[in-house]
Symmetry: C2
Subunit: 370 residues, 2 copies
DNA sequence: CTGTTAGCGCCTTCAG
DNA sequence: CTGAAGGCGCTAACAG
């Protein structure tokens, strides 16, 4: 495999000149042309490994996610990628599969490969350990939640306000017994969303106490069971908020199997997926700005490469309530959309100047063939 | 950042000894312990970049897919990963986003990083060029279709027999005008599946000529429109085969909007996704062995690392028809499943010995929170 | 079993 | 603008 010495010899120049042609140093155009011709001729491909060793850094950043099957991550990945590519970085995805051990391996690889940075959705708050990366100067940005091992830049969605808005909407529609199907108590996301749900009840007019809460497992089956149990109550709920899309699917199936059809029972869910609009009636959802989260995370990472010692930031991006038929008792014609958070991202007081410019999501490409 | 010289000095040994401890050479246990202690002490992390340069190969393989949002790929990725990890290789995912240019960039990176191998779902038959990789000794395995630029190991699903079986099933159920909604003529997958559909008609009893075929775009909207147009015909079909899951979703929506409910109109689709079982009635699907395809691809890759000059193989893995309510006129109680291909993978005549052992899919983990 | 030595391919001073 | 030379960190020969 040809290297720069071969190219140099073929072009009649020094290896340094070849390197300069490759990296944009000043070379006379005549010699540059000779070098390019020789490189082409020899099928020369610069060896990034050698370059990485010499430069002590790579141009690849790792995105470690906990479940590749979750549509949230696919959008997130696009956001990271688009920003990274604009800065000539490649992104590789690592699927940790919700397994702290796998995740640790990938963190290890990222460090051993001296990657340009890591965006991580931590599999576990307690077990995910990014200190090694940080100690060795590899920037880390956490998405959605912050590992306990260290304070790092974090980007999250404003889940609490999202849950609040959805619950408030259900109450406003006239549902009187709004229940919540949420995730395990160990999940911070589950708890944050639940908090928003409860706050909406407290702040309602009149305030309502002790709304029904079912703890499930963020999965379809768990949603189904939780919904079934709720419906078996003496006073079953007339509306439900599911804190992720899989449990929502389960809840819908449970309703269907009992002949209950939204919006007879109101349904709202966290997480917009392509089937949210396909079910009939379409599903009211709290949309998480996954793409923007990815963008923001990548931007934080890029920024931190240049200012490694700044105080870690915490960005909170607004969620958005998409009202559809599943929660609309009143027969309005059009779907409506509403921001659920203040228009500007909330920034930790330490650094207010660093507002990450996250624009609109790029239009979602429809998926392709299977 | 500590290197092996630092560790060697701290442990009072030579760098070579440190290297041996790292890579399993023979070292006296006493010295090995000293080395490990020193490494721990210094927070030493072996530099894979340097190792890669020295060894002229990396332990990372790339999986380049054309659309991260497609569930087919997520299962595929798991298959690749599980096999690779068993051989101590890491897998990184590269999302080419159906864009030949992006894809070319990732191929470039894979070559420049001297990756251990590449599994690729080619974005384009014509534009995807893997010759550079091959020339430089990086093994490549194509999934689902083979790029024109070179002959490489390929793993595909037996789509034709899958389509045949699904169509045959619809005919056997007594549907008389079975239509097909397939993808663009430029897509080989669309054409292969269509071929199976047509064959089932020719071989039916009695053979039926000129079944209705609609060409759409593999997307939800296209499926909706195609179904609508079919229903507008003077003699509308009483059953339909959609050649991917997104068009199936569109077709179901179109049926729903006209008050038609499967199995009144029979529906079968390519590609099993988690919602296939959630819709009511559940959807009859041709299941593609995505996980096994990934496994087989990784195995071929590993094998080729050791035998680079063997004739390229072509593996065809069986699909499987999962009959559910959407196509069952007769009121049987239980869903049924059937292999649609011969039990053994079909192998190109050049190398019959190389049957890849692909076992059962590991149980699908339900997804987690969004 | 252990140490010495010589690169892997590239980039980046430093001289010219 | 150009070339010579050293070294990034590691491993594989080779000697001992």
């Amino acid at each position: 495999m040809a290297n720069i010495y071969d190219v140099a010899k073929a072009a009649g120049v020094s290896p340094a000149t070849v390197s300069r042609v490759l990296n944009g140093g000043s070379v006379s155009s005549e010699r540059a042309a000779r070098v390019r011709a020789a490189a082409e001729q020899l099928g020369f491909r610069p060896n990034r490994v050698a370059r990485g060793l010499r430069r002590q850094r790579s141009d690849v950043l790792a995105l470690i996610i906990s479940d590749i099957e979750n549509p949230f991550f696919t959008a997130l990945a696009r956001g990271v990628e688009d920003v990274a590519r604009a800065s000539n970085l490649s992104v590789v995805l690592c699927n940790a599969d919700d397994d702290p051990e796998k995740e640790a391996e990938y963190l290890d690889v990222a460090l051993a490969e001296r990657m340009a940075g890591v965006v991580i959705f931590p599999a576990s708050l307690a077990e995910t350990d990014v200190t090694a990366l940080l100690e060795h100067g590899v920037p880390v940005v956490a998405v959605d939640r912050s590992p306990e091992s260290a304070t790092v830049d974090t980007v999250t969605a404003d889940d609490e306000n999202g849950a609040y808005a959805a619950t408030r909407h259900l109450l406003d529609e006239g549902y009187r017994r709004v229940a919540c199907i949420t995730g395990p108590r160990a999940s911070s996301a589950a708890m944050v969303r639940l908090r928003g749900f409860l706050r909406a009840h407290r702040e309602g007019e009149p305030p309502r106490r002790r709304p029904r809460v079912a703890y499930a497992d963020f999965r379809v089956r768990g949603g189904y069971q939780a919904m079934s149990e709720l419906l078996d109550l003496a006073e079953p709920p007339d509306a439900v908020l599911a804190t992720n899309n899989l449990m929502a699917a389960g809840a819908l199936a449970a309703l269907h199997d009992r002949g209950l059809r939204p919006p007879e029972v109101g349904v709202a869910a966290f997480g917009d997926t392509f089937w949210s609009q396909l079910v009939r009636p379409a599903l009211t959802t709290v949309q998480q700005p996954a793409y923007e989260i990815g963008q923001a995370a990548a931007e934080l990472l890029l920024k931190r490469r240049h200012t490694p010692d700044n105080e870690p930031q915490r960005l909170v991006l607004p969620t958005r309530l998409q009202v559809r038929g599943s929660s609309r008792r009143s027969a309005e014609a059009e779907p409506t959309t509403a921001e659920t958070s203040p228009p500007l991202p909330t920034i930790a007081p330490t650094d207010r100047a660093g507002a990450t410019g996250h624009g609109l999501a790029r239009p979602r490409r429809p998926g392709v063939m299977t």
